[in-house]
Symmetry: C2
Subunit: 228 residues, 2 copies
DNA sequence: TAATAGAACGAACGATCGTGCTATTATCCA
DNA sequence: TGGATAATAGCACGATCGTTCGTTCTATTA
């Protein structure tokens, strides 16, 4: 859209061929491994410099790969950005959601919060929470990248809310609690911890966030459930 | 740093000549008015596209001004960004801090929160809270721009904390409350409201933030002060 | 062995970036 | 009124942006 391209690129390379069926461990076109390598590095750079600051030339240089060779994996910068978001989501699911997914109700809610905070604290992404940065960077840039981010964040908030609702049904959280509001507050406090950690280089930032979240959760639990 | 500039620019135009002393209302070099016009527009663009996405060429085009003429006002892009941050701070002080500054203690704290929320809700900046976006954009870019943002945010949090401490000394807030933590939580919830408003286009976002902040404040006030 | 497809490369494109010089215009004081 | 000074415009620069093209290398398949 910026450069007047006479013919639209990216007609091939539609999307990641992450085929769910028939996935032999290593008998795969060699390009997928390269693509993976590119995306890992790209996610790290993007978490530091932003999805727009992520540049194809720089990415290729740091990977010692030709710019055109790298570009051919994606077909457009927008597709690359989408792929980076997907890659970051995979990492997030791996680190935050999956380790907690066997819990239910209040235990699940607590585990999600704990995992999120340690995900932020142990710098899974070198530039802090990828999605905090990306959602604020793209909140005014319509397009598929923004749509993807919105979808992911809605799903994440939905997970928090759903866990809280289950806890409510199980009698662990009081009936009069607005679980949507609760999810919002948890998310805001967590992102606040990330913000304070990144901006002030405050090592206690995530502890502050954790304290606030735990207190908030304790406030909404029924008496027999309080203090874990 | 990106372009190999043989000689450093911006030796003149050190900084905004906002002289504290002897400031006649209108007898000033005419260039300041233009500078003002530029910065107003620049702040709006930057709140939408980010401080790095703010481009001198585009800014000049939308203002129907030559690029070099605009550039001469600042001397470097970094200086422009610093000036934009300062301009945004002036607007923030005008809209949020000054209208509350005659209050003290708990009243001040409440007024600051209310003003912040209405500052976010009524879109003082078209792209949402300028500082939320800028602090996440620059948290990994060392330099004077980041330093400025850090300083401003520290001062703002200090204001919240100071008001809470005064309220504590006046017996309006309980003695056992960690006012630093309280300031952090208020700020996190407020920024969360901004985040939800921008990303989801959620008209109820600031209401959610307000509800959370008011409840939190009520929790720390002494009984005789609760419910305003 | 020949044919084919995928992966990576080098070179180049038009555009735009920030920046620097030089000339022209507007403004103000003597 | 003229001359100094400040403000703006014009033009060009090197670099880098995303993107395209044609080619080469490699590996699988016929």
């Amino acid at each position: 859209m910026k450069n007047g391209s006479p013919q639209s690129a990216a007609t091939r390379h539609s999307h990641r061929p992450a085929s769910p069926a028939a996935q032999q461990p290593s008998r795969r076109p060699r390009g997928l491994k390269t693509r993976r390598t590119i995306l890992r590095k790209a996610v790290n750079i993007a978490s530091l410099e932003g999805l727009e600051g992520l540049t194809i030339g720089r990415l290729a240089t740091t990977l010692r790969i030709s710019k055109s060779g790298l570009f051919a994996h994606f077909g457009s910068k927008e597709d690359l950005q989408c792929a980076v978001v997907d890659e970051a989501r995979d990492i997030f699911v791996e680190k935050v959601i999956r380790p907690a997914w066997h819990f239910k109700g209040l235990r699940l809610l607590r585990a999600l919060c704990e995992n999120w905070l340690s995900y932020g604290e142990q710098k899974v992404f070198p530039g802090g929470c990828f999605f905090s940065a990306a959602s604020l960077e793209f909140d005014d840039r319509p397009g598929p990248v923004r749509d993807r981010i919105v979808g992911l964040m809605k799903k994440w908030l939905g997970n928090l809310e759903h866990a809280a609702r289950d806890a409510q049904a199980a009698g662990e959280i009081r009936e009069d609690v607005d679980v949507h509001q609760l999810a919002f507050e948890i998310q805001a406090l967590a992102m606040g911890g990330n913000w304070s950690s990144r901006l002030f280089r405050d090592p206690a930032a995530f502890r502050s966030a954790q304290a606030a979240i735990l207190r908030r959760i304790d406030q909404v639990t029924t008496t027999e459930q309080s203090r874990k």
